[in-house]
């Protein structure tokens, strides 16, 4: 949901999850400040807490789940960093200096979003760049016009 994507590739998921776990902020846990990291088995791991928060909100079936989730996270220093790291690692394919294996390089979401070829992966074909992509990028908030001609055709056939 935070990524607005479905069917995320599993190899990438594993690699990115590892990076997230290695970089989970643990100086702060919900409500408390820890000088050393959380104690296994005693203190809640931020990732588990994040999942609990999400599950709770989902159960409540609130209409704008995303907005409520973000609002809840924003109030929590540790959880908001964790959530941001998750999004960043999925979009950029890395976090800081933490690099996943080469095989998942092309899974970074940013390239699909900007309609680009992940640099270094062999490109689509000669000349592909001469035309705008088939699914153009619209200004944010722009709702695409219904295709007037198609609408008319549909009505005619009824």
């Amino acid at each position: 949901m935070l990524l607005d994507a479905t069917h995320l590739p599993e190899a990438a998921a594993r690699a990115f999850f590892r990076i997230i776990l290695e970089n989970t902020p643990t100086y702060y846990a919900p409500g408390d400040r820890y000088v050393e990291g959380p104690i296994d088995g005693v203190d809640p791991h931020p990732f588990d807490v994040l999942w609990e928060v999400f599950s709770q909100l989902e159960e409540e079936s609130t209409e704008d789940l995303e907005t409520r989730f973000n609002a809840t996270l924003a109030a929590d220093v540790s959880l908001s960093i964790l959530a941001r790291n998750i999004i960043i690692v999925w979009y950029n394919g890395y976090l800081g200096n933490n690099m996943p294996p080469a095989e998942v390089y092309a899974s970074a979401l940013v390239w699909q979003v900007i309609r680009a070829n992940p640099p270094g992966i062999p490109g689509p074909y000669y000349g592909e760049w001469a035309y705008p992509p088939s699914d153009p990028i619209l200004p944010p908030g722009h709702t695409p016009q219904k295709d007037q001609h198609l609408e008319h055709e549909r009505r005619k056939r009824r």
Binding site: V113, P133, I137
Partner: protein, 579 residues
């Protein structure tokens, strides 16, 4: 593969130090002529199979994919015994003593910096060869454009340049000498900018955006595929659509892979993991050997009848100066005192803005269009010329796009669809115009071997003094004004100029050619004035330049030199400039 070692009692015909672009071209031409050539390189291995010619660049790609820093050398191993400079660790190798850091890098590997170059293949304009006479700036070459014109065409065929022969980019082309390949199809970005700037002028000159002649296949060539839009020319093309010197090294090492091989073709002897430390000279000023150091610190001396230094414009003068002896206190080939002097780069000024609609980014080559129409003119008496490079990669150089855009939006609280839509829009509406400024050769800009700081093999690190002249500062001001008028035509907003300067990767001037042995290091063939059996190659030879990338000129000069060397072995009379 490389030989383990070489018989020190053997005298080759030619020993070439450096298997980069110039070394590879010359090795190949000499091997075709049947000469017995030793090809030496610091690099530890070729990234192809010499037996079959199969390209083996996957390890380089994997290194790039897993490197958190995606800069010019990010795909390449940094050899402990032969460090290469890099943008992130400039001071690990370069010793910067000047008012400005010298920012350009190169790759010490078999095939050299052509692995990571962009591929731009422009000719210098005629006035550049006589810049002193025409504009009172720089220095005249001991060559005119006419002398080099046929060699430029040979160069375009040798490295495979795609371009439009009907477009005048300031350097005349002879009829019957077309580019070997049609121009690379302009990107959507290119077309939008070209259309919007039609009729635009700056200081009375047209601002014309055209497809850049580039060593990038638009059709299959030399057994390599056409460009597929991998958007990664720098640091490495995954499919070798962009020329790199392994093409010629491969043919030189194994003539059976070379369709143009002759019955005389003789495979070169490759000696890799071999760093040149000194050039040895006898008391009659003849070069008698090259002292080589290996990664295990063992040494050997190789000898030949004739020697060619092709290790790059930074390393060549370093070695020549380091080779000083009691009888040659100023270094080898340096009675003129110019070795290591007149160090030049194309200083780059980066500007960017926001477009009103997407031109789309990271599609096609990193740059496939530019403006060449502002490089030359009477203004060069007072300020430098520049070329404008239109990037197809948004503001990746200026701002670290698209990664920085992701981080920025996420930190501002964007998630989900809002993030996706805003990110797509913000990145695809980026435009970046870079100005490559013509440098003015300055005696005080120099490279010397450090006397106090050494690399892991005990060889001196390059000590560099660099500054940018008022001539180029004035040119940069003009570039920024020109860029603003272009952005205005595009309806772009949010004009930004990145503070400071960047390096273009063009190291030039450090072993300048000339007629006069008092003011130059070598003649137009690169034959040093002081030592008749020593040749130098590469952009270090250039006494002055315009703002065009140097590689095509390196190629033309190297091919001309190769022919000269072949002729001198055949004891032929001085050849005409037709091959």
């Amino acid at each position: 593969m490389s030989v383990e070692s070489v018989d020190e009692s053997k005298t080759f015909d030619v020993a070439i130090a450096g298997a980069g672009l110039a070394g590879a071209l010359i090795a190949h031409r000499l091997s075709r002529a049947g000469l017995d050539v030793l090809l030496i390189d610091a690099g530890d291995r070729p990234y192809f199979d010499p037996a079959t010619g199969e390209d083996l660049r996957q390890p380089l790609l994997d290194r790039f994919f897993t490197n958190p820093v995606k800069m010019t050398n990010s795909a390449f191993p940094d050899l402990a015994y032969a460090p290469s400079p890099s943008e992130t660790t400039l001071n690990k190798y370069f010793v910067q003593k000047g008012s400005l850091p010298f920012q350009s890098t190169y790759s010490r590997m078999v095939g050299g910096t052509t692995y990571h170059w962009l591929g731009t293949a422009l000719r210098y304009v005629p006035n550049t060869f006589q810049e002193k006479t025409v504009y009172g700036r720089g220095a005249d070459w001991p060559l005119t454009y006419n002398d080099l014109e046929d060699w430029y065409w040979e160069a375009e065929k040798a490295i495979g340049v795609a371009g439009n022969s009907d477009v005048d980019l300031g350097a005349p082309r002879k009829a019957g000498q077309p580019y070997p390949m049609p121009e690379i199809l302009p990107t959507y970005n290119d077309q939008k900018v070209a259309a919007a700037t039609r009729g635009l002028t700056f200081e009375g000159m047209p601002v014309a955006f055209n497809s850049t002649p580039q060593a990038r296949n638009s059709i299959p060539y030399q057994g390599r595929p056409p460009c597929a839009g991998s958007a990664n020319c720098i640091p490495i093309c995954p499919i070798q659509a962009k020329y790199d010197a392994s093409v010629h090294i491969k043919w030189a090492m194994n003539p059976s892979l070379d369709e143009g091989a002759t019955i005389d073709s003789k495979a070169v002897t490759p000696l890799f993991s071999a760093v040149l430390q000194k050039v040895l000279v006898d008391d009659r000023n003849r070069i008698i050997g090259l002292s080589i150091k290996r990664p295990d610190r063992s040494e050997l001396t190789v000898s030949a009848r004739l020697y060619v230094l092709a290790m790059h414009a930074m390393e060549i003068p370093k070695v020549l100066l380091w080779s000083a002896t009691e009888t040659l206190p100023h270094g080898v080939a340096n009675s003129s005192g110019v070795v290591g002097r007149y160090l030049m780069d194309h200083d780059v000024k980066i500007t960017y803005a926001r477009l009103p609609e997407p031109y789309y980014v990271f599609r096609g080559p990193l740059s496939s269009s530019g403006c060449e129409s502002l490089r030359d003119g009477p203004f060069r008496k007072d300020r430098s010329g520049f070329r404008i490079e239109l990037q197809n990669t948004g503001t990746s150089w200026a701002t670290g796009s698209p990664f920085s855009n992701v981080v920025d939006l996420v930190n501002r609280g964007y998630t989900g669809k809002k993030l996706r839509d805003q990110l797509a829009w913000d990145v695809s509406t980026q435009i970046e115009l870079n100005g490559l400024l013509e440098p003015e050769p300055n005696y005080d800009n120099c490279i010397k071997p450090s006397q106090t700081l050494f690399d892991p093999l005990g060889l001196p690190r390059p000590e560099i003094r660099y500054s940018i002249s008022d001539y180029s500062y004035a040119g940069a001001k003009a570039f920024v004004e020109a860029a603003k008028t272009i952005y205005a035509r595009l309806g772009a907003t949010g004009f930004s100029e990145v503070p400071g300067w960047f390096g273009a990767g063009h190291v030039m001037g450090t072993t300048r050619m000339g007629h006069d042995p008092n003011t130059s290091c070598c003649d137009s063939y690169g034959r040093t004035h002081d030592h008749p059996n020593l040749f130098i190659t590469g952009s270090g030879l250039f006494p002055t330049v315009d703002s065009a990338n140097p590689t095509l000129t390196i190629t033309a000069v190297a091919l001309r030199t190769a022919q000269h060397i072949v002729d001198s072995f055949n004891e032929a009379p001085e050849p005409s400039h037709h091959q």
